[in-house]
């Protein structure tokens, strides 16, 4: 009896201890995520009169935006570009991550990860503007191609330019996340696969990728989220041609200060990202069917 009471008291103390540590993040999320999100949803029903928002509950903004073809064109474009960015980043990053996880020494891996982190020390906008020098028709790449009689090719203000920007933003992060994920794969299982006659390629597909699945999907998810919400690359390297949803938000707020209509676009973006994130996490943590 006494032992049970002590155990309950201990459990209660433990829960209190855990709650103390949990509280800051809960408060933070409530204040800076849930609160603004609810306000944004509410704002999408407001009206604008004389450049001032009027509190209201009207569907006008939703009807207006959903009835416009340019909204849906931007939506499909943004979704498509973010998906493409995710696929490209995942495919490009994997061989590098694989090499970092399995083929190099710990020391080399540490240095490469440090070098991958370095780009984050500088402003993303500055990094994007630096691509002007490289991608311009009079830039570095076209100058090199001209020596072999090629070009000049238009790379700025194209979807290619936008994707270059997305890679600048996402690729280092995807490589880092994939590397950590692959490095945590139990090497004994890889060795066992080899001992049982599994070819190197089959080992990757049958053993390594399934074991590192969660990290690989999370890396891809981060890439999708960052690309989907990025304003800088499609604007400065893609020439806003055609505009993505973040550019549409800016355009909408610039004209007549239509923050409620911009909120409609933002809510749609959030809903899309939340759906994608839940689907990706469900896939990441889905247990393999036992054979």
């Amino acid at each position: 009896m006494n032992t049970q009471k002590k155990s309950t008291q201990k459990k209660r103390r433990f829960n209190l201890y855990a709650m103390v540590w949990r509280t800051p993040i809960i408060v933070w999320q409530l204040l800076f995520f849930v609160g603004p999100l609810l306000f944004m949803i509410a704002m999408s029903f407001f009206l604008v009169k004389n450049y001032r928002m009027i509190e209201a509950f009207e569907m006008k903004n939703w009807i207006k935006m959903f009835s416009k073809n340019y909204f849906w064109d931007s939506y499909y474009l943004t979704f498509g570009l973010a998906s493409l960015s995710t696929i490209i980043a995942t495919v490009i990053a994997f061989p590098a991550s694989f090499a970092l996880a399995f083929k190099v020494s710990d020391n080399v891996r540490r240095w490469v990860i440090f070098l991958l982190i370095i780009p984050f020390f500088t402003s993303y906008l500055v990094r994007i503007f630096s691509w002007y020098v490289i991608l311009a028709e009079s830039g570095v790449i076209n100058a090199m191609l001209s020596y072999v009689g090629l070009g000049p090719y238009t790379m700025l203000n194209t979807m290619f330019g936008t994707l270059v920007g997305y890679m600048t933003l996402c690729l280092p992060l995807v490589v880092i996340l994939q590397t950590f994920s692959l490095a945590n794969v139990d090497k004994n299982l890889i060795q066992a696969a080899k001992n049982l006659g599994c070819s190197p390629i089959k080992t990757i597909y049958s053993v390594i990728i399934p074991l590192a699945k969660t990290g690989l999907i999370v890396a891809a998810l981060f890439c999708f989220i960052l690309s989907f919400g990025d304003f800088v690359s499609p604007y400065y390297l893609g020439g806003s041609k055609p505009p993505t949803l973040p550019i549409l938000i800016i355009d909408t707020t610039k004209s007549g200060q239509q923050w409620p209509r911009a909120a409609v676009v933002a809510v749609v973006m959030m809903a899309t990202l939340i759906t994608i994130a839940f689907a990706a996490l469900a896939l990441a943590y889905k247990k393999r069917a036992s054979r």
């Binding site: 020439g239 806003s240 004209s255």
Partner: protein
Amino acid sequence: MNFIRFKDKPGRAPYKQGREFMSKKTIFKPSRRDVLKYSAAGAAATVLSTPFVHRTWAQTTEINMLAWYGHGEADIVGAYEEANNVKFKPKYYAGGDNMLALIAQSPPGTYDVILSDGEFVQQLNAAGYIDELNPADYNFDDMLHEDFTNFPGHWAAGKLHSVMVRCGHLGVSYNTNAVSAEEAASYACFWKPEIQGKVGHFDWHLPSLGMMSLKNGNGAGLWDLDDAAWNAVQETTMSLRSQVGGFFDYGGTFNSLKNGEMQAMCGIGDWITGVLEKDGAPVASVVPKEGGIQWTESYCIGKGSDKADQVKHFIQYMTSPEGQVKSAQMAAYPGFAITKGGRKLLNEVDPKEAQRTGQVDGMANDPITLIKEGRIHYRDIPQQQSLEDWNDFWSEYKNA
């Protein structure tokens, strides 16, 4: 001299020296030579920093400014601040909509001085955001054109609400290696097949659609379009879409013209190409035969400001010859002097810039001559459609 001394013990490890450094400090005893040496250094530092100290002391009155970028920078207001014991605290905006929103969302009296696009002054006044001005305080007799005194919307019921300080013209901006001066004499050059994918837009519907309206021959009625004329403007604009290489903000426009990615630009004028041209880039801006659009900037005193007298004095300064020259030479983006005194002084102190921009009496591209010839139309807002209609079409156009 050591401020903190510790006994030197040769051969001791640095770690131990560090511990002594912490523990065995003694009292600072400067020698006479130390005193002389550091007094001299102190005096020198004081002398060298005097201009900055003076500038700091001058910050006695803070004037809150709402303006386009560049108007609160040192090249424009630095000399005025020094001379008048004031310090400008600028808040920059981009576009009249943005300006109105910032004022609407701020308490009365937040902004002491407001630089407004000419066409938005009437909205500022209608909303009660600006104070009435006394016409006797300003030298309107010195204006280069009578329209500058009686600029549309600046007066209401015989009362003055804003004073124009500068302007500029929008037309065809182009790379001189890709488009000839003859071709640039018409907006039709934007459709030149050789520059397909190289035509850029400044990402604001008003000047670009205004130019398309001029291309359609709407002349002085470019903002006053009935349904048929508005549809025609949309058709003309859509026909340009295949030529367009991008939609840019100020930085993007600047870069794409500078690196040659864009060889013609719709919606801008010398306010961007002028900066590049002075830097040696092969770009220019002209007012084509169909006409050009004038952007106009005017100063107002914010309603509820308790520094109205200082602001009045500043507006007087900006319309004085000295202020007009600073405005014409503004680092962020150049504008025309609008007073006779300003033009005269500009020709004396910077004849090259005066020549480059046609601000010389008798030149064919003298902006005042262009206005008198009826080739310049003041930027306005759509008369028969709403700004929202124009913006909706602009979004459709960008997505086409």
